[in-house]
Assembly symmetry: C2
Homo-oligomer: 204 residues x 2
């Protein structure tokens, strides 16, 4: 079963909403209530969740603990995913220090940089290694996710090094078009493109 | 003419590629060459650019300076867009200091925070103001883009304050589902959701 990234993203949203409801002591919710409370589409919720079996009972709604358990397992959030950050500049450091990023199932276990002033230092609890030792660091930490926060011109070489080291997924912040390895899941976060989208709508 | 955000994002990519080619002294390129060089789809390029008139001449390709000029104007990149950052924590500071974010057409002109230790201080050239003065800061700086880097629980109140202050577009990093104002263009950058997408594909 192949689920599209957009659907996966919505499942994450639903799970976040369900956790919030569970925290408030709510045990059951209908797609309509869920939609109204979190500014979502009830039809979309029903469609998305129908793909994974019959969670909902018509007229009764979803059992929140059960749905949380299923979505948690489906999204791979029943275990820790070790991450390494490649490029320990402003953004790399900020991500390592971010509670929203480096927490829960996602833990930054090492940094990589090519700046001798940074290598061997511990920044916010994260030890920075020489980027030339990528393979050894990935092997030692069993990192699954590589977070690429290097400048655009250094991105492809570091991407290739991560792939060669056996990293299976990459979150790429470098504003460049990488030549991708099909076996590695790569997600681009291109803030420049996001700003230009806003600029377009400001100007149109 | 309404262009979808995904198309706008591709136009940004094309423009970036064209700038790179122009820097190499290339004056003209076909959709096929453009696609091959930057790992894009030639058919998609032709379709996207056809919406804006006949840039290309069959068998000849696009005149790069002309296409750059048209895309630059279309994307609103022929002028500066002042930005304010709301929440001067790790991420807000990193964005203000980032050459990829705070440069070119996009300039951070002020920061906002509610921490007395930060208010009135200049961090990386950006003066941090009291978040309660959002309206006055937006008016004084003529900021067009609000960058929301506050914790999830503070996001809605600050979003509403930005909207009331007349901000027309918002880049939201807070991992929460905001109740949106339809007149304000809001773009979410939700790194947690991006990580969960990678987690799903790691687990499936």
């Amino acid at each position: 079963m192949e689920i599209s990234p957009l659907t996966v993203n919505r499942l994450s949203l639903y799970l976040r909403c369900l956790h919030s409801l569970e925290g408030e002591g709510v045990g059951r919710i209908s797609s309509l209530e869920l939609a109204q409370q979190f500014h979502l589409s009830a039809a979309q919720i029903r469609k998305d969740l129908a793909q994974f079996g019959e969670f909902g009972i018509r007229g009764v709604g979803y059992e929140i603990p059960n749905l949380i358990e299923r979505l948690t397992s489906l999204l791979g959030l029943d275990r820790i995913h070790p991450m390494i950050i490649i490029g320990f500049g402003n953004l790399g450091r900020a991500l390592a220090a971010s509670i929203g990023f480096n927490s829960g199932n996602f833990r930054v276990v090492a940094g990589l940089d090519n700046d001798p002033a940074k290598i061997g230092r511990r920044v916010g609890g994260v030890l920075v290694h020489d980027a030339s030792e990528t393979a050894a660091v990935v092997a030692a930490t069993e990192a699954e996710i590589g977070v690429l926060t290097v400048p655009a011109e250094a991105a492809q070489a570091n991407y290739d090094r991560l792939v060669a080291a056996g990293i299976r997924s990459i979150l790429n912040f470098a504003p460049t078009r990488l030549s991708l390895n099909a076996a590695v899941r790569t997600k681009d976060v291109d803030l420049r493109i996001d700003l230009e989208e806003l600029s377009y709508f400001l100007s149109s």
